[in-house]
C-alpha cells in the first residue's frame, strides 16, 4: 500500500504539488491522469525520491520513503519512462539485468530471470538478448524497458507515460501486455498519463490531478458518471463521456435474456461501444448475444445501449 499524506512541493513561489493526499491499495492499477504540467510526473517521482518534496510523508508498505537510503528504495521499486532510458552501450540482456546486478544476484539467477522476462514480454530470448537498443523498434525498446522495470520482481511499479511515444497499434498491444502482467502478478502499478482512453483501459482507480491538487479519485466508472467538477468533466471528455461509458460497460449488463435476433452474434463480454460500432456497420438495431462458448444467451437492441 502506498500512502501519500499531505505532500507539498514548491519551487520558489511556484507550487507544483499542493497538500496532496492519496492512498493506493495493494494490487491496484492506479492511473495519475491530468493535463501536461499538472504535477502528476512529479508526484510519481516523489515516491522513489527522484523528486524532493517540502512537506508531508510518503509511505510505501508502511515505511517512510525518507527513512530508507534512496538507492535501496529505488532498487525495490520498478521504474519505466517514456524515453525508455535504455543504456545504449549495453545489450538487451544487460539492460534487463541492471537491478538484479546492482543487488548482487548470482550470475545464474540473473540469466534465468532475464530469460523469464523476455518471454513474459513476448520477446524471443534467442533473437533479442544479444541485441543493442538501437537495433530494436520503438515498441520492442519499450518492452525491454518494462522488462527491466520488472527485473528484480518489485511489488510496486512506477510508469511515467511509458507508451506516449508509440504509434496507436503498438501502444494498444503494450497496454494489453502491462494489464495482463499486472493481473497475473498482482503488482501495484502507478501509471502516469494524459490520455483518458489509456487511463480507462488500464486503471482500476484513477486520480485526476489539477495544478498539483487531487481533483478527483475513484474508479473509472465513478469518475465518468459523477465528475466532481467542471474541470474533471471537461478533461474526461465533455459530451464524449457517453462514449467512454459505453466502452466500460459490457453487453452482458444490458442483455435481453431468451430473446432472439438475426445476424452474426456478439460475445457477451463485448463492450457496449463495440456493440454500437457493430450495429452501425451492419445497419441493424438488434443483434443476438452468445456466451464465451458460443451458446445463445439472448439479444441486445440499440435502445438498450443508451438505457
Amino acid at each position: 500500500m502506498i500512502e501519500i499524506d499531505r505532500v507539498s512541493k514548491a519551487y520558489d513561489t511556484r507550487v507544483v504539488v499542493d497538500d496532496l493526499s492519496l492512498s493506493v491499495p495493494e494490487g491496484a492499477f492506479c492511473v495519475l491522469l491530468g493535463p501536461s504540467g499538472c504535477g502528476k510526473s512529479t508526484i510519481l517521482r516523489m515516491i522513489n525520491r527522484l523528486a524532493p518534496f517540502d512537506a508531508g510523508v510518503i509511505r510505501v508498505g508502511g515505511e517512510d520513503v525518507r527513512e530508507v537510503p534512496p538507492e535501496i528504495l529505488r532498487r525495490r521499486i520498478g521504474y519505466a519512462i517514456q524515453a525508455t532510458g535504455l543504456f545504449p552501450h549495453w545489450r538487451v540482456e544487460d539492460n534487463i539485468a541492471t537491478v538484479p546486478r546492482l543487488l548482487g544476484w548470482p550470475r545464474r539467477r540473473v540469466r534465468d530471470r532475464v530469460e523469464e522476462l523476455l518471454q513474459l514480454l513476448r520477446l524471443d530470448p534467442e533473437t533479442y538478448r544479444r541485441k543493442y537498443p538501437h537495433q530494436l523498434s520503438g515498441g520492442e525498446q519499450q518492452r525491454v524497458g518494462v522488462a527491466r522495470a520488472l527485473a528484480a520482481d518489485p511489488d510496486l511499479l512506477l510508469m511515467d507515460e511509458p507508451f506516449g511515444a508509440l504509434d496507436p497499434v503498438t501502444r494498444l498491444a503494450l497496454q494489453g501486455e502491462v494489464l495482463r502482467i499486472q493481473q497475473q502478478t498482482k503488482k501495484t502499478v502507478i501509471f502516469v498519463t494524459h490520455d483518458i482512453e489509456e487511463a480507462l483501459r488500464l486503471a482500476s482507480v484513477i486520480a485526476i490531478v489539477e495544478r498539483g491538487r487531487l481533483a478527483q479519485w475513484g474508479t473509472p466508472l465513478d469518475i465518468l458518471e459523477n465528475p466532481a467538477s467542471a474541470f474533471v468533466a471537461e478533461f474526461v471528455g465533455g459530451e464524449g463521456i457517453g462514449l467512454h461509458l459505453l466502452a466500460l460497460r459490457k453487453v452482458a449488463d444490458r442483455l435481453r435474456p431468451d430473446e432472439t435476433a438475426d445476424g452474426e452474434p456478439l460475445p457477451s463480454e463485448t463492450s457496449l461501444r463495440d456493440a454500437l460500432a457493430a450495429m452501425t456497420r451492419r445497419r441493424t438495431d438488434r443483434l443476438p448475444v452468445v456466451d464465451a462458448a458460443g451458446r445463445p444467451l439472448g439479444a441486445i437492441t440499440l435502445g438498450d445501449l443508451v438505457r
Binding site: E71, Q82, A83, T84, G85, L86, F87, H89, L102
Partner: protein, 401 residues
C-alpha cells in the same frame, strides 16, 4: 529527331560512365606531383652542410629507370580515377600509391649516392621541394584510396604498418645513407634513441597527470554548472600564454622552490630540465581534456541518467557504468588532441633543458643546418601522426555502439 536515332544515343550514354572521371582528388594530386617534379628541384646539392644547395630535378638527378618507374606509377594511379569505382580498384590504387611513396624515397637515396660519388666529401645532398610534394601527394592518394575502399581501422593500421616496415627496410639496406638527413642521423645516432625516448617520456608524464587532474575537474564542473564559467576562463587563459613564455615563467618559481627545499632539487626538480616542461605541458593539456570530458558527460541522454538513478544506481555506479562509457568517444577525442599538442610542444621544451627531439631542432637552428632541424622535426611529426591515428582508431571502435 526520329525515334530511330534515339537508340544509338541512349546506348552511348549507357556506355559513357566507363570512361568518365570518377575521382576528382587523384587528378589534382597528380597535377601537384607532376608540376613539382617538372618545375622544382627533387634534391639539392650544396658544397657543405651549412649553405643552401642548388636544386636538381628528378630526371637529371636519379637513374632513368627509377624516374621512369615513378612516371609510370604516377600515370597508373591517375588512370584509376577514370575507371569505374569499386573496392578492388581502390585497394589497387592504395597499393600503387604505396609503391610510389617507396619509389620516391628510393629515387632520393639513389640520386644522392650518384651525385655524391662525383662531389667532394663535404658536399651535402638535401631533399628538395619536388621530393616533399611528390611524397605528400602519394601519401594523400593512399589515404584517399583507403577512404574510398571503406577500410576500417584494422585495415588502415595494417597498411600503415606495412608501409613503415618497407621504409625501415629501405633505410636499413643503406639506400638512403647518402642523403644529408641520414648523415646528420649517423653523426648523432648515439643521441637519437635517447632523445626519442625522452620525448615520449615527457609526453606521457604530461598527458597522464593531465587526465588524472582534468577528469575530476570536468566531473565537478558537470555536477556544478556554476563552476564552468570560472574554470574555463582560467584554462582558456593558460592556453593563450605562448609556450616559450610559459616555460620561461616557470623557471623562477621552480628555482626558488628547489633552493628552499633541497629535497626537491635532489628529486631533479629545478628551474630548468624536465620539471618545468612537464608542468607547462600539463597546463596546456588541461583545457582540451576538461572541455571534451564536460561535453562528453553532459552530453549523455538525460533520460538514460534518469533511468539509471531510478533503477537505484549510486552516483559512483552511474559514473563508472553509464556516464564514462557513453562519454568515451569524446574522452578519446580529447586525449587525441592533447597527445598531438603535447608532442609538438615538447619540441620547444628542449629550450629549457628538458631534452627530447627538440635538441636537434635547436641545434640545427643554431648552426643554420636545415637537415639537422628535420632530424628533430620529422620524428616529432611522425610520432604525432601515429598518436593521432591510433587514438582515432580507438575512438572509432568506442563509437561503434
Amino acid at each position: 529527331m526520329s525515334p530511330g536515332s534515339a537508340l544509338p544515343a541512349a546506348a552511348a550514354i549507357a556506355r559513357a560512365p566507363a570512361f568518365r572521371l570518377h575521382n576528382r582528388v587523384v587528378p589534382v594530386l597528380f597535377a601537384a606531383g607532376a608540376a613539382a617534379l617538372l618545375c622544382g628541384g627533387f634534391v639539392a646539392l650544396a658544397p657543405n652542410r651549412l649553405v643552401s644547395g642548388r636544386p636538381i630535378g628528378l630526371f637529371a638527378a636519379a637513374d632513368w629507370r627509377i624516374s621512369g618507374a615513378i612516371a609510370v606509377l604516377g600515370l597508373a594511379v591517375l588512370a584509376t580515377a577514370f575507371a569505374p569505382p569499386g573496392r578492388t580498384l581502390h585497394r589497387a590504387a592504395a597499393f600503387l600509391s604505396s609503391l610510389l611513396v617507396l619509389l620516391t624515397l628510393e629515387a632520393a637515396g639513389q640520386a644522392a649516392s650518384s651525385l655524391g660519388a662525383g662531389a667532394p666529401a663535404l658536399a651535402r645532398i638535401s631533399l628538395g621541394a619536388g621530393f616533399w610534394v611528390l611524397l605528400g601527394a602519394a601519401a594523400l592518394a593512399i589515404i584517399d584510396a583507403l577512404q574510398r575502399a571503406g577500410a576500417g581501422p584494422g585495415e588502415r593500421l595494417a597498411v600503415a604498418a606495412a608501409l613503415a616496415a618497407a621504409i625501415l627496410a629501405i633505410a636499413q639496406a643503406g639506400l638512403l645513407d647518402a642523403l644529408s638527413l641520414a648523415r646528420e642521423f649517423h653523426t648523432r645516432q648515439h643521441l637519437f634513441a635517447a632523445a626519442l625516448v625522452r620525448h615520449i617520456v615527457l609526453v606521457a608524464a604530461a598527458v597522464g597527470p593531465a587526465v588524472l587532474i582534468g577528469l575530476p575537474l570536468a566531473l565537478a564542473a558537470v555536477r556544478r554548472p556554476g563552476w564552468q564559467g570560472p574554470l574555463f576562463a582560467v584554462l582558456n587563459l593558460l592556453q593563450t600564454i605562448p609556450s616559450i613564455a610559459l616555460f620561461g615563467l616557470l623557471i623562477v618559481p621552480l628555482s626558488a622552490l628547489a633552493a628552499a627545499f633541497p629535497g626537491l632539487a635532489a628529486l631533479g626538480i629545478g628551474g630548468i630540465g624536465p620539471a618545468p616542461a612537464i608542468i607547462a605541458l600539463v597546463l596546456y593539456a588541461l583545457l582540451p581534456v576538461v572541455r571534451n570530458s564536460v561535453a562528453g558527460i553532459a552530453g549523455v541522454d538525460p533520460a538514460v541518467v534518469d533511468a539509471a538513478r531510478g533503477m537505484g544506481m549510486t552516483r559512483r555506479e552511474l559514473l563508472w557504468r553509464v556516464e564514462l562509457p557513453l562519454a568515451l568517444p569524446l574522452l578519446l577525442a580529447g586525449l587525441r588532441i592533447v597527445m598531438v599538442q603535447a608532442i609538438g610542444l615538447a619540441v620547444v621544451a628542449a629550450l629549457i633543458g628538458a631534452g627530447g627531439l627538440g635538441i636537434f631542432v635547436f641545434e640545427g637552428l643554431g648552426q643554420y643546418a636545415a637537415d639537422l632541424v628535420l632530424l628533430g622535426a620529422l620524428p616529432a611529426i611522425l610520432l604525432a601522426l601515429a598518436a593521432d591515428f591510433l587514438l582515432q582508431s580507438l575512438a572509432a571502435l568506442a563509437a561503434r555502439r
